[in-house]
């Protein structure tokens, strides 16, 4: 069939299209036009899609800064020679790299260049009429022909015309756009349906552009902040209260809603002994009280999968651990340090590592590296370990250092690491002095009569009545574009469903009068033509014929003519509803 206006417009190298047109002539305009046609061709789209798939793979093989920054640091340690080379190729930032961006930007350029003309063309097609009935319907693959007796009394031609009227009515009711096409001695209706298929395809491709814009541009309005909160403490939603803040391009961080969040209690449950998963932690809940700028306070709980909504932000629970309260007094008994210091969990049984930094009050600065074992046990090697993540036998060990903490010159230092380069170790290791070992409520002397250190028992002060406080690490996230991403993604899915499953087809019903020995007969021809993939076309033609013959209600005098492949097995053909 030749292409008509109502056919969707396709790039020139589409499989259904005519053979390739001309090579470029020499003029610059022609050349540009030719180049543009290459960019918007099916082949380019295909190659770019395949390139995109291949280019995405390295990001799963090499750690990415965005998803796994520690992995990148580790990579530099493990492969000091290779890492800088990979970094030069942006392999630690694959998805923001110039080459990855080039591929998807070209792909979307091609997409837009391809979709705009198609959308224009389709808009016109929506207003056009179905094409005329072909002269020889029997040439079509899906074709059947039946003859019925004309009733006596009335003009057979009028009956043939009525038959086509009826067919047109039925087709219109079945969702076809119909056009009468009568000529002398033959009456026919030309019907077409499935414009939605092309609409769906266009919606799908345009929605992909929507997703890209929502992610790329809308993401600029997002921000992510992180913060560790110890039970009983409060933080405020301001830049200074966060340990890390990642703003989008259009966020400067000065307009955050100044709400406050207090962690009242951190809850967790552990699988007990005798189960298949001893020590597995679950049911995490950060029980919080929030105070909004207008003073209104609310109690809530942040759980995994259940972030808390607050002033347009979402609060997520990322992690948790113990924060032993450590008090350091000098030789006079004056408190020089009191902190519930978060210790970072090192294993599933919550063996945790933390650091104490006492900057003032002593002749030299003091630092301590501590291990906390919620359920302390001794390995055969003599080393301590934790055998359960809950507080069954909590023990804190401390190694004391004396010297320069390296914080006076203003360089920011992590609160989780101690730089012992300028310090002397006083306990543990090779010093010959035992490490300090404390249980909640116990106090020990610091070496050289410096003073004392106490591991406070907090059971009287916190809601859980546990001796050791816990901390939660929270993430505050705001992404006003996420909902748009979702909207476009769902549109793409709906477009896809329509584009792939709405059949696009033409159907013709034609009537002609034929004289026979027994009086006039009306020959009824039914034919269908698929536009694109349409496995149910034959069933549809059969159904059109069946319904029409039943409603027309004239005696059928079919004799199967040789060559009518269509009607031989029509009674066995599946007839799914084609409306």
């Amino acid at each position: 069939m030749s292409n008509s206006l109502s056919d969707p417009l396709r790039p020139s190298d589409h499989a259904d299209g005519a053979a390739d047109v001309s090579a470029p002539r020499l003029g610059p305009v022609e050349w540009l036009r030719w180049a543009w046609r290459q960019v918007t061709s099916m082949r380019t789209a295909l190659v770019l899609l395949l390139l995109l798939a291949i280019a995405a793979i390295p990001g799963s093989l090499v750690p990415q800064r965005s998803a796994d920054p520690n992995g990148v640091t580790q990579y530099y340690t493990d492969q000091p020679d290779l890492a800088p080379i990979l970094d030069g190729l942006s392999l630690f930032d694959v998805y923001t790299s110039p080459w990855f961006s080039a591929i998807y930007l070209l792909l979307f350029l091609s997409l837009i260049g391809c979709v705009i003309p198609r959308a224009k063309h389709h808009a016109k097609a929506l207003m056009s009429r179905p094409p005329r009935t072909p002269v020889r319907l029997s040439r079509l693959a899906d074709y059947e022909k039946h003859s019925v007796e004309a009733s006596e009394g009335t003009d057979a031609s009028a009956q043939a015309s009525d038959a086509v009227d009826l067919a047109a009515k039925q087709l219109r009711r079945a969702g076809y756009r119909v056009e009468r096409d009568d000529s002398r001695g033959s009456w026919s209706v030309s019907a077409e349906r499935g414009y939605l298929r092309e609409t769906g395809n266009l919606v799908f491709h345009i929605a992909l552009v929507g997703v890209l814009i929502a992610v790329g541009f809308g993401g600029g309005f997002a921000y992510t902040a992180q913060r560790v909160v110890v039970e009983g403490t409060t933080f405020v939603n301001t830049l200074t209260d966060y340990s890390s803040f990642n703003p989008g391009r259009f966020v400067d961080g000065t307009t955050l809603a100044p709400y406050a969040v207090t962690l009242d209690e951190f809850q967790v449950s552990y699988q007990g002994f005798g189960t298949n998963a001893v020590g597995q932690a679950g049911d995490f809940a950060a029980v919080i009280t929030t105070r909004e700028p207008d003073g209104q306070t609310t109690e809530d709980a942040i759980r995994v999968n259940h972030p808390v909504d607050l002033a347009g932000d979402k609060l997520y629970l990322l992690g948790n651990g113990y924060a032993p309260t450590i008090v350091v007094r000098d030789a006079e008994g004056v408190v020089r340090y009191r902190e519930s210091q978060p210790f970072l969990p090192q294993d599933t049984n919550m063996t945790s590592l933390g650091v104490v930094k006492v900057a003032d009050g002593f002749a030299e600065q003091l630092g301590m590296i501590g291990f906390f074992y919620p359920t302390q046990d001794v390995l055969t090697s003599g080393a301590y370990t934790s055998t359960f993540p809950d507080l069954i036998n909590p023990v804190l060990t401390l190694n004391v250092f004396q010297g320069d903490l390296g914080i006076n010159d203003g360089t920011p230092r992590s609160v989780y690491t101690l730089d012992v380069g300028e310090m002397t170790q006083l306990t543990g290791g090779s010093t010959g002095v035992d490490s300090i070992e404390l249980r909640p409520g116990e106090t020990a002397d610091l070496p050289n009569g410096l003073g004392t250190v106490t591991f406070e028992d907090e059971s009287a002060t916190i809601a859980s009545e546990a001796p050791v406080k816990r901390f939660a690490s929270l993430q505050v996230h705001r992404d006003p574009s996420a909902v748009w991403v979702l909207v476009f993604a769902v549109l793409a899915l709906l477009g896809l469903l329509t584009a792939l499953f709405v059949p696009r087809r033409r159907v013709w019903v034609k009537a002609a009068v034929r004289e026979s020995e027994d009086g006039p007969l009306i020959d009824l021809e039914y034919a269908g033509l698929a536009r694109g993939e349409d496995p149910a076309l034959r069933a549809a033609v059969t159904q059109v014929a069946d319904r029409h013959l039943a409603a027309f209600d004239h005696p059928v005098v079919d004799a199967l003519e040789p060559g009518d492949t269509g009607s031989g097995d029509r009674r066995d053909a599946p007839t799914p509803d084609v409306n």
């Binding site: 799963s60 597995q280 995490f284 996420a482 991403v485 899915l493 536009r531 349409d534 034959r538």
Partner: protein, 347 residues
């Protein structure tokens, strides 16, 4: 929750799954015998011109055939010779299907008892995804049999299932029933993982059909060459009894697009879940990367079918590569790649 009772129910599940594996293996043998019979039959019918009689597959042909006419092929062609009265020749295919149904019932029983034992949906760790995923592959295959006679894929389906299930059990991937980790406690576990498995099942069928399509296309090419020169290279003979490469392709395409839609949904559902669980909808986590790569590969496949010069053999290769990526994502990425999706239940 009484621990002993849980254990015994799970033990029943393991017993059922081994029974299912054994019956699938028998089904594989039956289907293999069917292919052998088809080869023999193709030899018997050698005198008959290959495309002379095509009514045999009309039941299939009427449905398969109309897929392509718009492209002007209009063929209902299958290479199947006429043999309507000789029913017994399909005996082994029928035995294969009957055994597959039986094995499926045991497999279903195993999956359900595992779910009851665990008191949740049985697709929460790698052992369970394998069980449910393979169950869905068989289910889709059996349902599709009502419409299309695809029993020639029986060896592939049962073979794949036996390898995956036995591989999982013998490879030490069996995992005891443990409570869900917090991030998995979500309705999205039920939806996202299930739909992904369903998509995989359709991709598996598209893959198998594409492989047969490639073989058939090669045979057809050689048949043409042979008619031009006297030298004929042999192709597996059972291919003569199967639909034409064109028909196989349009069928493979149909399964691939259903799979693609499920996969698109998986991608969206996964992002919604990630937004709740990890605080961002997309972060190029390894598993996310692979899910995306697979999606793009199948988008490529669908495009290839509409691109001049790519329809046929080239696009079939894309369907094959796509499924290879699905399997890679399921096995290697789950077990060896580092990422947030650390839910294989393996340590």
């Amino acid at each position: 929750m009484p621990a002993e009772e849980t254990l015994s129910l799970d033990a029943v599940s393991v017993l059922l799954i081994w029974t299912a594996i054994a019956i699938y293996a028998l089904a594989f043998i039956a289907y293999a015998l069917d292919l052998a019979r088809r080869s023999a039959m193709a030899v018997d019918a050698k005198g008959v011109p290959e495309y002379a009689t095509q009514r045999e597959l009309v039941g299939v042909g009427t449905r398969l055939g109309s897929g392509a006419p718009a492209r002007g092929t209009g063929s209902v062609d299958t290479a199947q010779p006429a043999a309507t009265p000789r029913r017994p020749r399909q005996m082994w295919a029928r035995v294969g299907t009957a055994l597959t149904v039986l094995a499926f019932l045991f497999h279903l029983g195993a999956t359900i008892t595992r779910g009851i034992a665990a008191e949740r949906v049985p697709w929460s760790n790698m052992y369970e995804f394998s069980m449910t995923g393979t169950l869905l592959i068989v289910a889709v295959y059996l349902v599709v049999l009502f419409r299309y006679d695809l029993r020639f894929l029986g060896t592939f389906i049962t073979g794949l299932i036996v390898i995956l299930l036995a591989g999982v059990l013998l490879g030490g991937l069996y995992t005891e029933v443990v409570p869900l980790m917090d991030p998995l406690k979500s309705v999205w576990l039920v939806i996202h993982v299930f739909v992904a498995s369903l998509g995989t099942a359709f991709f598996a069928l598209a893959f198998a059909l594409s492989v047969v399509q490639l073989m058939q296309a090669r045979r057809e090419r050689r048949a043409v060459e042979a008619s031009e020169s006297s030298e004929a290279k042999p192709s597996p003979r059972f291919l003569r009894t199967l639909p034409t490469a064109d028909t196989l392709e349009s069928l493979a395409y149909r399964f691939a697009i259903v799979g693609f839609i499920f996969w698109t949904f998986t991608l969206i559902a996964g992002s919604i879940w990630a937004q709740d669980a990890w605080g961002r909808y997309w972060g190029f986590d390894t598993k996310e990367v692979w899910t995306f790569v697979i999606w793009v590969l199948y988008a490529g496949y669908i495009h290839a079918r509409a691109t001049r010069g790519w329809r046929g053999t080239r696009s079939a290769w894309l369907a094959i590569i796509g499924f290879a990526a699905v399997m890679f994502n399921f096995t290697i990425v789950n077990m060896f790649f580092k990422g947030l999706h650390a839910y294989s239940g393996l340590s």
